[in-house]
Symmetry: C2
Subunit: 346 residues, 2 copies
DNA sequence: ACAGAATTCCAAACCGCTTTGGAAAGCTTT
DNA sequence: AAAGCTTTCCAAAGCGGTTTGGAATTCTGT
C-alpha cells in the first residue's frame, strides 16, 4: 500500500511549480509542448491523478450526477426498469468522466434528500425517475437551481423543464387499436400504478382507442398495481374467471405479461388462438421479449437508450445552462409477435 | 435560486468564529450547550449543510462507497440480481450517511477504474460484485490498500479478505438430492456462466450429490450461460427433445426457471407431474417466486439481505480497519413449492 | 545591440471545511 | 486580590487542487 501521489510532490519531482504541472495536465496553452509531455509521462509513471475532492472544491463542480430512488416500505427499490435506465445513463457518465451517485432513500425523506444534495453541493445535476401525476420534485429542483432532467413527465402545466418521455398515450392507443382491428371487443388493461404519470397516460391511450370505436370501457377489465409477475397472474386469473371474460389483454410491462400468460396457460388457453396479449416492452437486457423474433406483440421502448439520451441531455444542460430546457418525446416501436390472433367467435 | 450558505457566512450571522460553529455542529464538547443550540437552530433556519467536497478534503474521508459494474459489449450491465443487492446496500449507506458511487465501465477498463478510484480518493471503500473463479480485483484492491468486501468468493488460495457468500455448493447439492429422493435419475443443470465463481460452486454441489448416489453426470444434461429467460427456454427445449430427456431441471435463477417452465408447457408437460424444477431463488422484489406460497421448489438466498450485510461489513471495516477481514457464509433456505413431483414411471 | 512582444514559468490567493494551539473570560480557591 | 482552573471562544494552518497577476526568459524586429 503506497500513499497517493499529489500535485505538490509531483511538481517537486519534476522541478516545476504546481501551477505549471496543473496547466500542463489540463491542456492550457501557456506551457511548452516539451514540458507538457514531460509532465504527462511523469504523471503516468507516478500514477498521479488529481484528488477528486480537492479538484471539485477548486473548480466548484462535482462532476457527478445524482439518481435518487425512493424506497417505500414495500419492495419497489431498484426495479429492473430503473436498473436498465441507469445502466444506459451510467455508460454516458463514464464516457464523460462523471460519477453517478445513487441515493436510496425512504420515500418520506426524498424531498430532504434533494435539499441536502443541493446544499452540500454533492452533484452538478439530478435525474428524476418515475414522476407522479403531481410531482413536487420538479418545482423543488427548479427552486433549488439544480439542473435536472425528468425521465417521463408530470402533469402538463407549470413552467417548462427538461424531460424525456415516450409517447405512452399514443403507444397504448395503438396497442388497443391493434386488438380492436383483430375483432376483440373485451380488452382488459393491466396497468401500472395510476398515480404514476406514465400509467395515467397509458390508460388515456387505451380509453382513446376504445372511444374512437364507440366501445364503452368495462371497469371490470381494468386493473392497476405495481407491475410484477404475480400481479399479472392474479389480475388475469380474476378477469378470466368472470362470466364474460376478456379475449385480450393489454399489459404495462413484459413482467406483467408473463404473469398473464401463466394465468392463460393455467386455464388451458392457447396464446394467439384463444386469447391475445399486447404488452409494453421496456427492452430489458435480462428479460427479452424472445431471442430474435418477438414472442409477445409489443410496443417497445428501449430503456437503455432512454437512459443514454436523458444523461446526455443532463450533461449538455450542465455544460451550458443557457438555452431553454429541452424535451424529447419518443415513439414506441410496434412489434408483431405470436401472442395475438383474431377474436375467437362466440 | 439562492446561493448556498457556507460556514463563514453562517458564523458571521451568528457573530461567532467558524471554529465554534463547526464544533457546535459536530458535537465537540468545547462549546456551551446554549451556543450549540443557537448554532443548530441557525443552521436549520438558513438551510446550512457543509459543502461535501470541502468537508471531505478537510477530513480526508469521502463518506462514499463505490460499486463498479463492468459492462461487456453484451448486455449484462445492471442485472436484476445486482439491482436487488445494490438496493439493500444502498439502504445501509443512506442510514450511515454514506454516498454510493455507481461506476459503469467497459469490462476491459475495470482495473483502471479501480486504480482511478484509489488515486483520486473518490471513495473510502469498494464493493466487489460477481467474482470470477480467478479474479484479479482482489489482489489489486489489497495492493491499493482500499477497503473492500467481495460479494461471493474467488478461488480458495491467497491471503484472507472480507467476503460474504452463500453456500452455493451445499445449496445445489441439496437441491439435487431432493430430486434424487423423488426418484429422478436424469436431472439437468441449467447453470450460470462457469467462469463466475458462484456457478462453478453450484456445479460442484450438483456433481457432489450425483456422485454420492453413484450416478454419472450426463454432459448432455448440463448447460451454462448468462442467465436469462430465453436461455432457460432454449436450453430446456433442446434437452427435452433428446431421445432420453431429463425428468427434472435444476436452474440457477428464477428467470431461467421461468424460461424452462415455458419450454415444458410448450411441450404439454405439467409441472410437478410430468416434469420437476428446482431453482435457485434470489428473492427479488420484482420477481417473486409466488405471492405467499412458493410456486417453484427453491433454494432461496435473499439478495437484498446480502446487500445489507455486505454493506455493513464494509462500513465496519472502514471505521475500524484493525481486525482481520471477516467472512460470512450464509445457507440458502429450502422452500417446497409446486414444481416437483416423483419421477414419472418409465 | 536594444526595445517590445511573446513565451514560459512561478508565488500566492482561493475554494469551504476541520483542527491545532492559544488567548480571553468566568469561577473557584486561598 | 492573586493564583489556578475551567469554560468558551478564536486566528491561522492545513487538506490538494485551480487560477490570477506578475516576473523571468526567450524571441522578434530594427
Amino acid at each position: 500500500m503506497h500513499h497517493a501521489m499529489n500535485l505538490r510532490e509531483l511538481s517537486h519531482i519534476l522541478g516545476l511549480s504546481q501551477t505549471t504541472v496543473s496547466r500542463a495536465l489540463n491542456g492550457y496553452p501557456e506551457v511548452s509542448e516539451a514540458t507538457r509531455i514531460r509532465v504527462q509521462t511523469a504523471a503516468i509513471a507516478h500514477n498521479y491523478r488529481p484528488n477528486a475532492r480537492a479538484q471539485g472544491l477548486a473548480t466548484g463542480r462535482a462532476r457527478a450526477i445524482a439518481h435518487v430512488l425512493p424506497m417505500s416500505s414495500g419492495h419497489e427499490v431498484l426495479n429492473p426498469v430503473f436498473a436498465e435506465f441507469i445502466g444506459g445513463a451510467g455508460e454516458v457518465y463514464a464516457r464523460a468522466d462523471y460519477d453517478m451517485l445513487l441515493s436510496i432513500v425512504p420515500a418520506d425523506q426524498e424531498i430532504t434528500a434533494y435539499r441536502t444534495l443541493a446544499a452540500r453541493r454533492s452533484v452538478d445535476g439530478v435525474m428524476v425517475h418515475a414522476p407522479l401525476v403531481e410531482d413536487r420534485r420538479i418545482a423543488l429542483l427548479s427552486e433549488l437551481g439544480l439542473p435536472f432532467v425528468v425521465h417521463g413527465r408530470s402533469g402538463s402545466d407549470g413552467p417548462p423543464y427538461a424531460w424525456l418521455d415516450m409517447n405512452n398515450r399514443r403507444a397504448f392507443a395503438r396497442g388497443t387499436a391493434h386488438l380492436l382491428d383483430l375483432g376483440h371487443l373485451r380488452i382488459a388493461l393491466l396497468n401500472g400504478l395510476e398515480r404514476m404519470d406514465f400509467a395515467l397516460r397509458r390508460k388515456q391511450g387505451y380509453l382513446d382507442a376504445l372511444a374512437a370505436r364507440g366501445i364503452a370501457a368495462d371497469p371490470a377489465l381494468h386493473d392497476s398495481a405495481e407491475m410484477s409477475e404475480d400481479y399479472g397472474f392474479e389480475a388475469a386469473s380474476r378477469m378470466l374467471a368472470l362470466p364474460n371474460p376478456p379475449t385480450a389483454f393489454l399489459t404495462s410491462s413484459l413482467i406483467v405479461a408473463i404473469g398473464a400468460r401463466r394465468a392463460c396457460q393455467d386455464r388451458g388457453l392457447v396464446l394467439g388462438r384463444d386469447i391475445s396479449i399486447v404488452t409494453h416492452d421496456d427492452d430489458l437486457g435480462y428479460f427479452r421479449n424472445g431471442r430474435d423474433t418477438p414472442y409477445f406483440t409489443a410496443l417497445r421502448s428501449p430503456m437503455r437508450e432512454h437512459g443514454r439520451r436523458a444523461a446526455e441531455m443532463l450533461l449538455a444542460q450542465i455544460v451550458d445552462p443557457g438555452p431553454a430546457p429541452r424535451q424529447q418525446l419518443l415513439e414506441a416501436e410496434f412489434l408483431t409477435g405470436q401472442s395475438c390472433g383474431p377474436a375467437p367467435g362466440p
